[in-house]
């Protein structure tokens, strides 16, 4: 992790701690980029030299977001799992806030960092997806994790396979069936 982004994350965490909601939004791209970068290093088998620092920061961000007890970093699969879930929380919260703003609840208007954009062509209702993912995690926790890693963590099939300790072929099958399930679930949600 570069000194710059490390400082930046620290400052944003502090600002956010003082009630600055924009700081949380600003964390999104910084943390996301950092996670992606670390993920690449991990998966290429490079020495994850600064990961402790990165992990600590993500850890802290995570704690602030979900108000849970301190997770222990057990292995890299855990790291990515938590990181992807962090992204999920950040993005879903962002979507919920925007929804609230649309309804005139007066929530602050939030802008994402210009370095990152929501993926194009995706008109996915993140709030609905979040609900559906929770259901999926009940009937198939492994698939729930996979979707998180792929969609929120930005990992490829191959990378997710490494993290989940499965073959890419298996992960591909899981991916295809989980997508079909979620697709149907979201459609039901939309027509409800």
């Amino acid at each position: 992790m570069s000194a710059d982004s490390s400082t930046r994350i620290n400052r944003l965490l502090a600002d956010w701690g003082q009630g600055n909601e924009e700081a949380r939004e600003a964390l999104i791209p910084v943390v996301y980029n950092e996670l992606r970068r670390q993920a690449r290093r991990y998966l290429r088998g490079e020495r994850p030299d600064h990961t402790l620092e990165s992990a600590a920061l993500v850890n802290e961000a995570y704690l602030r977001l979900v108000h849970q007890g301190t997770p222990q970093w057990q292995n890299r699969a855990h790291f990515f799992g938590v990181a992807a879930q962090l992204m999920r929380h950040i993005l879903v919260d962002h979507a919920r806030n925007r929804l609230a703003a649309k309804r005139g609840a007066g929530a602050p208007k939030l802008a994402l960092d210009p370095d990152l954009v929501p993926a194009q062509n995706q008109e996915i209702d993140l709030v609905a997806l979040d609900d559906a993912l929770e259901k999926l995690a009940v009937i198939d926790p492994q698939q729930g994790r996979l979707i998180e890693l792929r969609f929120f963590g930005g990992l490829s099939i191959e990378e997710a396979a490494v993290v989940l300790g499965n073959s890419p072929a298996t992960v591909k099958r899981e991916w295809v069936t989980a997508r079909a399930w979620l697709r149907r679930e979201l459609k039901r949600y939309a027509t409800k």
Binding site: A77, F79, Q85, I157, A180, R184, E185
Partner: protein, 783 residues
């Protein structure tokens, strides 16, 4: 993540689904197996899967969700992804200069290759596109195939790279406009329609020849470069036809359809493509038919308010006859367009080649520039990456740099067709391998080389091999001092020598190629072959050779009136009527000038065209225009020793002796197979300065006994030195070749040299015993 104990517990609002964690495993297995089958076979698979009815309904509803069109990319891209590359940022060794386009297949940037200092285009593949494990190796294979496509009408792919998780292709930068923005409402003029169509078809034919179908041909993927040349791009969706026909075909095709949906409009897709059936090269013929229709009429043959309507129209509707919208089109052209648009692939042209032949029937004298490089067995030259010993980064860089520079250098010779090998490919260096590579690439000639360092010495060995026989056409070893500081100096010094020796008019390739064609029936040569054949004239300089070469070129430009090389070489051959007296016809310089102008019109940046124009202007005595064209020709291809030498001596004779002699000297260094006339500027420079000893030294090196100017040089310099016997022998030799020289001298010499030098030479001839009557009005001068 192995432990979820620390994570938020899922909040379950309602579980209405019939699926439970108990039966989901069973549902999932059947679903996965069904989805691996083509859509049409899924029901029958379920019939024999023996699944309980309530679970079968579950599976069916999930299959339906999967088959929805919008499913294709559902969650396929991460929730967030890096936006476009920042201008000024770096991607590997490339500096991003500007964003020049976006498409379904990724964003395109103009970039600077900081290593080679050249501008190129970078296409960044969409995030997620290569995530699929199977897709990356397949795409790598494809990229390699695409990089092997080297055709004037195809945007050349250089490399396929990855940096920081971003996958991208580097490719030739084309400055121009897409065809989609150049079609006026009423369609293009017939000539342009034919020219563009032929060029696109030539590009497709070259790709199909390598088993590559484009699969996404549309006007937005066809660039019209600033010089008017057509460049087809985005073979990015192309897959090897062979592969699509292999065992996993249903999978590959389904996947393609998926990509097609992402790309957007199906307006240019063939029926078989829309139906997700196996497609081959004939899908491109259909798409070309749509493009032709649009170029002819300004509108597409199939219309619809939505993708579904459009697809239905392509599958079902008959096309409104082109002739209703463009009554002026020739009948056979109309037939060509409609035959391309047949719904059944079997009813279309079986190959693009046959389509091109049909177009020739429309206008036998109207193939495009690229149309001229058709037919024959293709004299393709493949350049393999230079090998090197040791792992020193400097040697590695030098080997790569030299390979790239040689490819670039050879590509400047418009009459060569060069296949560049991506530096990611390495071939073992044995002659057997070289032959195999030649076969694989469809290359007739293969060049390879190696670098070996021993202390401060560097040895560079290069060879050119005829792939079919494995025989060496040429091999050369260059020795030089090597130091890290001088790495570019070595490259700049040696590469031009290699390129010129292989490629220029007196080079190994033109020699080999023209000799291979001399025995063929001249009437059967393609325009491209006629150009190659014409090189046989230059080492021979005989009236017979001249007549054969000129006749071939006249046929060539008649068949391919936009073929710049054809016009340029014809112009030079006509010029030889004047300078050598071969097969003279009226007004040679006027005709040479007209031919050169046709060449320039067809390709303003063709160095042979500029060369031809410059020399015609010299004999027209248009000195300023001559000098401009000459310098442009030399700048366009500084590695062409022939152009440097010929224009160098004309520049010397026009008064700039220093520049002219320097150019000729450089040309002698570039290609050791240079002819004796490369010495002429030095001879006349010494002679005009009355340095007769130096002049004689040079004259003795010319060694072209069949050439009257050789004997003129010997006679005059011997005579001025007072060596009467030798001077008289030279005069005898001169008169053997030109018995009329005593009367023709003023005219012949006056073609080349100014009045002072002409008188000076006549003075020398007089001293050698050949009396020449003074021309009317000439001054006499004592030397």
């Amino acid at each position: 993540m192995g432990d979820r104990s620390g994570l938020a517990a899922p909040r379950i609002k309602e579980v209405r689904n019939k699926v439970t964690s108990e039966n989901w495993q069973e549902v999932k297995d059947v679903l996965a197996a069904a989805l691996e089958r083509p859509a049409a076979e899924r029901q029958s698979y379920l019939d024999q899967a023996g699944i309980r009815p309530e679970l079968r309904r579950e599976v069916e509803s999930l299959i339906a969700a999967h088959e929805e069109q919008s499913q294709s990319d559902f969650l396929g891209q991460p929730a967030l992804q890096p936006k476009e590359l920042a201008i000024g940022s770096r991607l590997a060794t490339y500096e991003i200069l500007a964003r020049i386009g976006a498409g379904g297949m990724g964003d395109v940037y103009q970039a600077l290759d900081t290593r080679l200092g050249r501008r190129l285009a970078i296409k960044v593949l969409p995030t997620g596109f290569l995530d699929d494990t199977a897709r990356l190796p397949r795409f790598q294979r494809e990229a390699r195939m695409l990089a092997s496509l080297n055709h004037p009408n195809i945007v050349t792919i250089y490399t396929f790279e990855e940096a920081g998780g971003v996958h991208f292709l580097t490719m030739e930068l084309v400055e121009g406009r897409p065809l989609s923005r150049m079609i006026p409402a009423g369609g293009l003029p017939v000539n342009q329609l034919l020219e563009y169509t032929t060029a696109i078809a030539e590009a497709l034919a070259a790709a199909h020849g390598k088993g590559i179908a484009h699969r996404d041909l549309k006007p937005a993927n066809v660039m019209v470069a600033e010089n008017g040349r057509i460049k087809v791009l985005d073979f990015g969706l192309a897959k090897e036809i062979h592969e699509a026909n292999a065992a996993d075909a249903p999978h590959a095709t389904a996947e393609y359809t998926k990509i097609g949906v992402i790309v957007g409009t199906p307006a240019y897709m063939s029926p078989e493509q829309l139906e997700g059936r196996i497609v081959d090269h004939r899908t491109d013929i259909f798409s070309l038919g749509i493009v032709m229709y649009e170029m002819a009429t300004g509108q597409r043959p199939f219309l619809g308010r939505s993708s579904a309507e459009l697809a239905a129209a392509i599958l079902r509707d008959a096309v409104r006859p082109v002739s209703e919208l463009r009554p002026d089109l020739p009948d056979n052209l109309v037939q060509v367009i409609h035959r391309c648009l047949e719904k059944s692939a079997n009813e279309r042209f079986p190959s693009v080649r046959e389509l091109i032949d049909a177009l020739c029937g429309v206008a036998p004298a109207k193939p495009s520039d690229a149309g001229a490089v058709r037919g024959g067995d293709g004299f393709w030259v493949a350049v393999l990456p230079f090998g090197h010993s040791g792992a020193s980064p400097e040697i590695t860089a030098l080997a790569e740099g030299m390979t790239e520079d040689i490819v670039t250098g050879l590509s400047r010779f418009s009459y060569l067709r060069v296949i560049a090998r991506s530096s990611t490919l390495r071939y073992a260096h044995s002659v057997a391998d070289v032959r195999a590579v030649g076969r694989e690439l469809g290359a007739r000639y293969v060049m390879e080389g190696s670098l070996r360092q021993a202390g401060s010495r560097l040895r560079i060995a290069v060879q050119l091999i005829e792939a079919s026989s494995g025989s060496h056409l040429w091999a050369e070893t260059y020795h030089c001092k090597f130091s890290v500081e001088e790495i570019f100096a070595v490259q700049d010094d040696i590469v031009p020598q290699i390129v010129s020796t292989v490629a220029d008019t007196y080079g190994v390739l033109p020699h080999t190629m023209s000799e291979a064609l001399r025995n063929r029936d001249p009437a059967e040569l393609s325009p491209y072959e006629a150009v190659l054949r014409s090189f046989a004239h230059f080492p021979r300089l005989s009236a017979e050779e001249h007549a054969a070469a000129r006749a071939g070129l006249e046929r060539a430009v008649q068949r391919a009136p936009e073929y710049a090389d054809g016009w340029a070489m014809l112009s030079m051959l006509i010029r030889e009527e004047y300078t050598h007296g071969f097969n003279p016809q009226p007004d040679p310089i006027g005709r040479a000038l007209a031919a050169a102008r046709r060449a320039i019109e067809a390709a303003p940046s063709n160095h042979l065209a500029c060369h031809a124009l410059a020399s015609a202007l010299f004999f027209r005595r248009e000195s300023q225009a001559f000098r401009n064209s000459a310098e442009r020709a030399i700048a366009l291809n500084p590695m062409d020793g022939f152009t440097s030498a010929y224009l160098g001596f004309l520049i010397a004779y026009s008064g700039d002796w220093e520049r002219g002699c320097a150019l000729a000297e450089r040309a002698r260094k570039l290609n050791p197979h240079y002819p004796g006339w490369y010495w002429f500027p030095s001879f006349f420079d010494a002679y005009r300065k009355s340095d007769y000893r130096a002049a004689l030294d040079v004259a003795l090196k010319i060694n072209m006994p069949g050439f009257w100017r050789t004997h003129l040089a010997l006679a005059t310099s011997y005579a001025q030195l007072g060596e009467q016997d030798a001077a008289r022998r030279a005069v005898r030799d001169l008169l053997n070749i030109r018995p009329d020289f005593a009367t023709a001298a003023h005219e012949e010499l006056g073609k080349w040299w100014d009045a002072d030098l002409v008188e000076h030479l006549i003075d020398g001839l007089g001293k050698a015993g050949l009396e020449i009557a003074p021309a009317p009005g000439s001054r006499s001068k004592n030397y």
